[in-house]
């Protein structure tokens, strides 16, 4: 036996109590890891950043606003702009709400010219242009749902019902494209068809513009002049580079990082209270034993370190199990989340923070019991038994 062995044995004085405490610490750290990963993904680390020669021009105040198609000609007239194309957030559900992937109405030729990283064969692009209700899917998305050319893909509209009141949109798959850089599940269909068939409030509306520049160096300047152009119109814009846009988009979904921090703080606060209480209670039962240790020649300092060490050990073990579980959960859910929030992963810094937190919480929880243990005098403690 060693001092560590003594600490370990003491932890398991009441097995159920220790296991329950350990469990709550474990769950807290599992939550911590997952929320960290989610907020990291939303902070932009995981969001795809492509060509800096493209700007996104979106409604100034909210992503749920729309912009009028009439802006297109004005944008094309801006000096330094070489191409403009529109997209719209379609939303909608394919079979089940959990089958999440983005769906955009687009101008076929403009879209594929704007995004050269999306590669499609000329024949399929022609077919897309010819087919009014046609759609093309990113390769891995098509594979995921087993779609083949000629299949009809039914989408239940949530934002955009048809003019007829009908919510079912049916698209015919006429091709697939691949993304040269990474997997990016996406289904696009004809803007022409969308704007003709959609409920009147959606007609001639676009979600955002993608603007190609002659000279990427002038991105800031041209973004500013676009916003000035529409500043006093009914539809002011906010123009930014693509990666900035992705970040703003995520922000508008809710300040995920902030919410995550609040949740984590609440969880840890609870843990400190509960575990701290358990520890103090456990200590009271042990006062005579601690006095015995002192009788045998353990100094005040050693006894208080033993007690502190137990608290830290408990939190560390709980923390490590939680971290381990988080890696297990990631392995299970990361593939499903990838298309939605990008990379779902833990950085070394997250793991290090978790370990540091577990040590810190152990320290806080163990502090009062350790001081109590330090202060107790042998003769008083032995008289109390």
């Amino acid at each position: 036996m060693s001092l560590f062995g003594l600490m370990w044995a003491n932890l398991f004085r009441k097995r159920t109590r220790t296991v329950l405490t350990l469990l709550s610490v474990t769950v807290a750290f599992l939550l911590f890891m997952l929320l960290q990963a989610v907020s990291a993904a939303f902070d932009g680390g995981g969001v795809n950043v492509v060509g800096v020669d493209r700007l996104i021009s979106s409604p100034k105040y909210s992503i749920v606003d729309s912009l009028p198609i009439s802006q297109k000609q004005q944008l094309l007239a801006v000096e330094g702009v070489s191409a403009v194309t529109q997209q719209q957030w379609f939303g909608g559900v394919y079979q089940d709400p959990k089958n999440f992937f983005p769906k955009y109405p687009v101008e076929p030729r403009e879209f594929f010219a704007m995004y050269p990283e999306f590669r499609i064969s000329p024949e399929q692009l022609d077919a897309f242009v010819r087919t009014r209700t046609g759609a093309v899917a990113e390769q891995t998305l098509a594979e995921q749902y087993g779609w083949r050319i000629g299949d009809i893909i039914p989408i239940q509209a949530d934002i955009w019902p048809k003019e007829s009141g009908e919510r079912l949109w049916e698209f015919e798959l006429v091709g697939t494209f691949v993304n040269a850089d990474q997997r990016s599940p996406l289904l696009v269909f004809q803007y022409e068809y969308f704007t003709e068939a959609v409920e009147s409030y959606g007609k001639d509306q676009v979600g955002w513009w993608t603007v190609r520049l002659d000279d990427p160096e002038r991105a800031q300047e041209i973004a500013a002049s676009i916003d000035v152009l529409f500043e006093n119109s009914l539809n002011p814009t906010r123009t930014a580079t693509e990666d900035e846009f992705a970040r703003q988009f995520a922000k508008q979904l809710g300040d995920i990082g902030f919410i995550a921090t609040i949740i984590i703080a609440a969880v840890f606060f609870t843990i400190v209270l509960l575990t701290g209480n358990t520890m103090s209670q456990a200590l009271r039962e042990r006062i005579p034993e601690l006095a015995v240790l002192k009788t045998l020649g353990f100094t005040d300092a050693t006894v208080s370190l033993l007690v502190l060490g137990e608290a830290i050990l408990l939190c560390l073990v709980g923390g490590l199990i939680g971290i381990g579980l988080a890696f297990g959960v990631r392995a299970a859910i990361a593939p499903a989340l990838e298309g939605f929030i990008g990379a779902f992963d833990f950085t070394g810094a997250t793991v290090a923070t978790a370990i540091a937190l577990s040590l810190g919480i152990g320290l806080i929880i163990g502090l009062i019991p350790a001081l109590t243990a330090r202060r107790l005098t042998i003769v008083d403690a032995l008289r109390e038994r």
Partner: protein
């Protein structure tokens, strides 16, 4: 024989609720090395208090206590702790074993403070358990042992660092007659064959009969040496 313990004008007072309680009022006591001394007296007379002072668990309000030539009254907490671990073994009425550790580990506990290797610690603990006749219960936890067996483990723990002095506060107070006699015989063996000096507080005259010397205490004073 040389002198092991020497108490000079020892007083001990406690302040409780702003009242001073004088528990020991001028104790003078000398104990020879190899003695087996019993302390008797009415409840509250200060027996435990005196025993705790001699064992270095507490310090006197005035006067001096020397054990093995070392003055305990001025030692720091840390120095006193180290001194206890090397020089005194304690045996209590309620055994005071750690319930989470088995017998072997309870006995090994004081050795964690020494520089002995793990193997040496285990060996010494085993020998101490053999001396008290409990080597076959080494893996049992206190909850799985009888009162007499637990007290034997406590005695083994008091012995394991090989101190000169054993202090026992009513070591048989919680045991039946027969078991008490076994424990007392064991203490006698430790005194006679292993050279341990023993101070034992007891209420039981039959227990005191095992000692060589018996002192009577009353109201914080040693009142009479009772001849054996």
């Amino acid at each position: 024989m040389s002198q092991l313990v020497s108490c000079r004008d020892v007083t001990k007072s406690y302040i409780r609720a702003k009242e001073q309680v004088d528990v020991l009022t001028g104790i003078n006591l000398d104990i020879e090395e190899g003695d087996f001394l019993a302390l008797m007296g009415p409840s509250g007379s200060g027996k435990t208090t005196l025993l705790n002072l001699i064992g270095g668990l507490d310090q006197p309000s005035s006067g001096s206590i020397e054990v093995g030539g070392v003055g305990l009254q001025d030692m720091s907490e840390r120095a006193l702790a180290k001194w206890r671990s090397e020089n005194v073994g304690f045996i209590f009425q309620f055994y005071n074993l750690l319930p989470v550790l088995n017998a072997q580990r309870n006995v090994e506990l004081p050795l964690l403070l020494t520089r002995l290797s793990r193997a040496q610690r285990q060996k010494n603990a085993q020998i101490a358990l053999e001396i008290v006749g409990l080597e076959d219960r080494a893996k049992h936890k206190p909850g799985e042992l009888s009162g007499g067996q637990q007290q034997r483990v406590a005695i083994a723990r008091a012995l394991v660092a090989d101190p000169k002095l054993l202090v026992c506060d009513e070591p048989t107070g919680d045991l039946d007659r027969e078991t008490a006699d076994e424990i007392l015989n064991l203490l006698e063996v430790l005194n006679r064959d292993h050279g341990k000096t023993i101070i034992m507080v007891t209420h039981d005259p039959k227990a005191a009969a095992h000692a060589q010397t018996t002192w009577q205490m009353d109201k914080g004073k040693l009142v009479a040496e009772v001849p054996a």
